[in-house]
Amino acid sequence: MKGVVFNLLEGAVSRAFGDDTWEALIDAAGVSGTYTSIGSYPDSEMEALVSAAGQALELDRNQVLRWFGQNAIPLMADIYPDFFSAAPDARTFVEGINSQIHTEVRKLYPGAACPHFNMRSNSSGDLVMDYISTRNMCALAQGFVEGTAVWYGEAVTFEHVTCTSHGAPHCTFAISWSSETLDEVKAA
C-alpha cells in the first residue's frame, strides 16, 4: 500500500484525536510509523493500525475503515484540489474515479494498485458500483463516497447490496445522491 494512505490515516487520526493518539496507535500496532507518500509499505501495517484503532475506539474493522474514508476526503481536497474542482458534484466525482482520479494517482504514485469499480445506472437512476479489490476494503470505499458527499454538501444514500464478507464474489453498492444538503436532511 502506498505511503500516502498511511499519511491520510495519520492526518485523520491526528486531526480528530491529536498527535499523541497517532503515537499511541503506532506503538499499539507495533509498526514503524515512518511513512512517506511515495513509498510502498506492507498492507499488514495498515491492517495492524486499523485493528489497533478498532480496539481503542471499540469499533470493528469496517467501522474504522468507513470512519477513515469519511475523514480522509477533506485532507485529500487539501492535497489534490484539482480532483475536486474538475467535478461539479459528488456523483460526477465518483463516476470519474477510474478514468480521472486513479489515472492521476498512477502518475503520482507509479505501481499503485488502485481498485477498479464497474459502474452502471439501475432503473431508478442510482449509481450501481462493483468494488473489486483483493484488500477487501469496501467500507473504506463507502467512507470515501460519504466523505465526498459531505465535501460537496450533498446527501447520499449508500446501500451495500452484496459484500464479499457475506460470501459474494465481489461487493456491489447502490448509491444515490440528493441535491438537498446534509443539513436539510438532518433537519427534516
Partner: protein, 672 residues
C-alpha cells in the same frame, strides 16, 4: 544584530518548542513529498508520451498503407488521452485544381452510438485551407486546440457536436517535410484547456505518420510509372492502339486461332496526302470499325499502315472468309475532321503459334502473306510457305530484308560531311544499303518505306544504330574521331521502345551519334516527339533536322526542337549554280538557322561552284557527291587519311569573301 532570547529550561516551554519543531519537520516532509510526487508524475508522463510516440513510430515503420497507420495512431492517442473519438482527414485523389480535405472514413475503434450523427455529418463535409478545425491545421501546418467547441465561432460542426455530447477538440497534421499529408482530429465530451505538451507530442506523431503517406505516394508513383511504361511498350503512341508486341503476345498461342494483318493499300501515297497525324487518326477509325465487326476483339497497329488482330476460325477457308469480311470494312469512305479518305485493305493470314520453317513469328508470316496477296492481286491470302521458300515465286521483300540483316546482304554506307571552316571531314551519314540475293540492289526508298509500313522500321533502325556504334569504334581505332548520323523515322519519335534502346546503347558505348529527323515528324506528333528529342539531346545525342524545306515547315516548331543542325534539302542545293532564287532562299535559311543557334549542312553538293557559293553564304557543312559518295567503312577510313577536298583550304585562306567561281582551285574532284 538579532538578539537571541535565552532558552528557558521550563518543561512547558521545552514541549512547546519541540511541538513547533515537529510541526515544521512535518511541513518539510509534506513539501518534499509534493516535490517528489510532481517529479514522479512528470517522469511518468514523459515515459508514457515516449511510449506513445514510439509505438506509433514503429507502426509507421511497418505499415505501408497510411489508413492502417492512421488507425493505430487514432487508437493509441485515444487510449493515451482518454479522448473518445478520433478521425482522419485526407486529400481527394484528384488534387489537380483544389486543395480540399475529405473524410478518410477512418475513425478510432471505440466510437459510441451517441456520436453516429456527428460521424455521418463529418463524412459529408470537405474543408479547404483555413476553414474550420481541419482547414486551420492545413493552413498553419501545426496542431490546433479548441477548448470549448461552443465558444469557437470557426468550428463548423458545432451544433451536431454539441448534440452528440462533444465539447473539446484538437487536431494535428501528418507532415511530409512542410507539406500536410493528412489531418487527424480528436474530440472529448468535456471542455478541456489546451495541453501544450500534448500538442508537441502529437506533432511528433504527425511527422511519423507523414513518412507513411510519403512512402505510399512514392510507391504509387512507381507503380503508375511502371504501368505507364508497360502500356507504352504495348501500345502505339500515335493512335493509342495496341502495337505489334501486344499482338505477338496474343498470337503466341496456337489453338484454332489465326492472325490477320490488314494493310492499307498504297499506304505511302495515302500518308503523303493526308499527313502522319491524319494517318494515325484514320488507322484508329479503321480499327474502330474492325472492332465492331470482330465483336470486341482488340485491334493492334502493326505498322504505320497496317492493323492486326487474332481471330477464331475452324479452318483456313474460314479464316480467309473472316479476313475478306474485315477488308470490306474499308469500303465505306472514312470521314476525318475536314476530310474524307478512300482506302482499300489487303489481308495476310497466318496460323498463330509457332510453325516449322523459316518464319517463326505468326505476324511475320501474316506480313509475308500480305505481300503475297498484293503480288497476286488478291483481297486476302494465307501464308504460303512453299511460295515463300521458292526463289521463283512471290517473295516478301521485307522479310527477305530482315534475313538480309543477318546474312550481310545488307550493310551501312557512310557519306562524309565536310566542315567548310576547317576543311576537314568531321562527320558522316549512315545510309543503309541492301543487295537482294536474287533481285539485286534494292532502292532504300522502297525498303525503308516498306519497313515503315509493316512496323519493321524499329528493328531496322536499331540495326543501323548498332552498326554505326561498331563502325565508330573501328574509326576511332584508326585515329578518326567523327560523329556518325543516323536517320530516325518519324514513327520512332513516338516509340518509347526505340528511345530506350537508343539511350541505353549510347550510354553503354559512349558513341557520338547524331539522329537526323524530319520536321514533319515533329509537327505531326509534337508533344511526344519533342519530349523524346529532349531526352536524346540530354543524353548527348546530336539532333539534326533533315530535308529542311522539302516538306511542311513551321518556324514555331523549329524553335522548339532541341536540334544542333539543320540540313537544307538537296532540291535547293543542286540548282544553286544556276538559280539565283534558290541562292537567296539558301542564304536566308542559313541566316535563320544561325539565328536559332543551329549549324547548317547543305545536302546534294555536287559541284565546286555550289561548294564555293555555300562557303560564301556562311554554310557550315557540305555533303554530297562532290565531297564523297556513300562508301564502305573501310573506304571512309582511307578517305579520312587524305586531304578532305584539295584546294578548298587555299580558298579559305586567300578569299574570306564568297567567291563567285572556284572552279580553278576546285578542279580536282575527289573519288568515291
Amino acid at each position: 544584530m538579532i538578539s537571541v532570547p535565552s532558552r528557558s529550561d521550563d518543561p512547558g516551554d521545552q514541549i512547546y518548542r519541540l511541538e513547533r519543531r515537529l510541526a515544521r519537520e512535518r511541513e518539510v516532509r509534506l513539501m518534499a513529498e509534493r516535490i517528489a510526487e510532481q517529479g514522479t508524475r512528470d517522469l511518468f508522463i514523459q515515459k508514457q508520451r515516449l511510449k506513445l510516440v514510439e509505438s506509433i513510430a514503429s507502426a509507421a515503420n511497418l505499415l505501408d498503407d497510411p489508413s492502417d497507420a492512421f488507425r493505430v495512431a487514432l487508437d493509441e492517442i485515444c487510449n493515451y488521452t482518454g479522448w473518445p473519438i478520433g478521425h482522419v482527414w485526407i486529400f481527394a485523389e484528384d488534387q489537380s485544381e483544389t486543395v480540399e480535405l475529405i473524410s478518410s472514413g477512418v475513425w478510432s475503434s471505440n466510437t459510441s452510438v451517441e456520436t453516429e450523427d456527428f460521424r455521418r455529418v463529418t463524412q459529408s463535409m470537405t474543408f479547404g485551407p483555413g476553414s474550420s478545425l481541419p482547414g486551420r491545421v492545413l493552413e498553419k501546418r501545426h496542431a490546433v486546440w479548441i477548448a470549448d467547441i461552443g465558444q469557437d465561432i470557426h468550428f463548423q460542426r458545432a451544433r451536431i457536436a454539441r448534440e452528440c455530447g462533444l465539447r473539446a477538440a484538437f487536431a494535428f497534421p501528418a507532415l511530409i517535410g512542410t507539406e500536410v499529408g493528412a489531418v487527424l482530429e480528436f474530440f472529448q465530451s468535456t471542455t478541456r484547456a489546451p495541453d501544450e505538451e500534448l500538442m508537441r507530442t502529437v506533432e511528433q506523431i504527425g511527422a511519423q505518420l507523414g513518412r507513411v503517406v510519403e512512402r505510399k505516394r512514392n510507391s504509387d508513383r512507381e507503380a503508375a510509372d511502371k504501368a505507364r511504361l508497360t502500356h507504352m511498350a504495348l501500345h502505339d503512341q500515335e493512335s493509342g492502339l495496341p502495337n505489334r508486341l501486344w499482338l505477338e503476345r496474343e498470337a503466341a498461342i496456337d489453338a484454332g486461332l489465326w492472325v490477320v494483318l490488314l494493310g492499307v493499300d498504297r499506304f505511302e501515297v495515302v500518308r503523303n496526302a493526308i499527313g502522319y497525324d491524319s494517318m494515325a487518326r484514320m488507322m484508329t477509325a479503321l480499327a474502330a470499325r474492325l472492332v465492331r465487326l470482330a465483336e470486341g476483339v482488340a485491334i493492334a497497329r502493326i505498322g504505320a499502315g497496317a492493323l492486326g488482330l487474332v481471330v477464331e476460325a475452324a479452318d483456313e477457308a474460314g479464316a480467309l472468309i473472316i479476313a475478306e469480311r474485315l477488308c470490306a470494312t474499308a469500303e465505306a469512305p472514312i470521314r476525318l475532321s475536314g476530310t474524307t479518305v478512300d482506302v482499300s485493305l489487303t489481308a495476310g493470314v497466318s496460323t498463330c503459334g509457332r510453325q516449322p520453317g523459316g518464319v517463326s513469328s505468326p505476324i511475320d508470316r501474316a506480313a509475308i502473306a500480305l505481300d503475297q496477296a498484293r503480288a497476286g492481286k488478291k483481297r486476302a491470302t494465307l501464308f504460303d510457305a512453299v511460295a515463300y521458300g521458292n526463289p521463283g515465286g512471290n517473295l516478301s521483300l521485307i522479310s527477305d530484308l530482315m534475313v538480309g540483316l543477318k546474312t550481310r546482304d545488307a550493310w551501312v554506307a557512310y557519306q562524309p560531311k565536310f566542315e567548310l571552316r576547317t576543311g576537314v571531314i568531321n562527320g558522316a551519314e549512315a545510309l543503309m544499303r541492301w543487295r537482294h540475293p536474287r533481285r539485286g540492289f534494292v532502292s532504300p526508298d522502297l525498303f525503308i518505306g516498306m519497313a515503315e509500313e509493316t512496323g519493321q522500321i524499329r528493328p531496322l533502325t536499331e540495326w543501323i544504330v548498332r552498326q554505326a556504334i561498331k563502325d565508330q569504334r573501328t574509326l576511332a581505332e584508326a585515329g578518326h574521331d567523327i560523329v556518325l548520323s543516323v536517320n530516325v523515322s518519324g514513327r520512332l519519335l513516338s516509340d518509347e521502345n526505340f528511345a530506350e534502346f537508343a539511350l541505353r546503347k549510347v550510354a553503354a558505348s559512349n558513341a557520338r551519334l547524331c539522329f537526323e529527323i524530319t520536321e514533319t515528324a515533329v509537327i505531326d506528333n509534337p508533344e511526344f516527339a519533342l519530349a523524346i528529342i529532349d531526352r536524346f539531346a540530354a543524353a548527348g545525342i546530336g539532333v539534326s533536322i533533315d530535308d529542311y524545306g522539302s516538306g511542311l515547315s513551321s518556324l514555331a516548331y523549329l524553335k522548339q526542337i532541341r536540334a544542333d543542325e539543320l540540313k537544307i534539302d538537296k532540291s535547293f542545293i543542286m540548282p544553286l549554280d544556276t538559280s539565283s532564287r534558290d541562292a537567296l532562299l539558301v542564304k536566308s535559311t542559313i541566316d535563320l538557322a544561325h539565328s536559332l543557334g543551329l549549324k547548317v549542312t547543305a545536302e546534294g553538293v555536287e559541284t565546286a561552284t555550289a561548294l564555293a557559293l555555300l562557303k560564301g553564304m556562311g554554310c557550315d557543312i557540305a555533303q554530297g557527291y562532290f565531297i564523297g559518295r556513300p562508301m564502305l567503312i573501310a573506304d571512309l577510313i582511307v578517305r579520312l587519311g587524305k586531304p578532305a577536298v584539295p584546294g578548298v583550304v587555299s580558298i579559305s585562306s586567300s578569299s574570306p569573301k564568297a567567291p563567285t567561281t572556284g572552279s580553278m582551285a576546285l578542279s580536282r574532284v575527289p573519288s568515291g
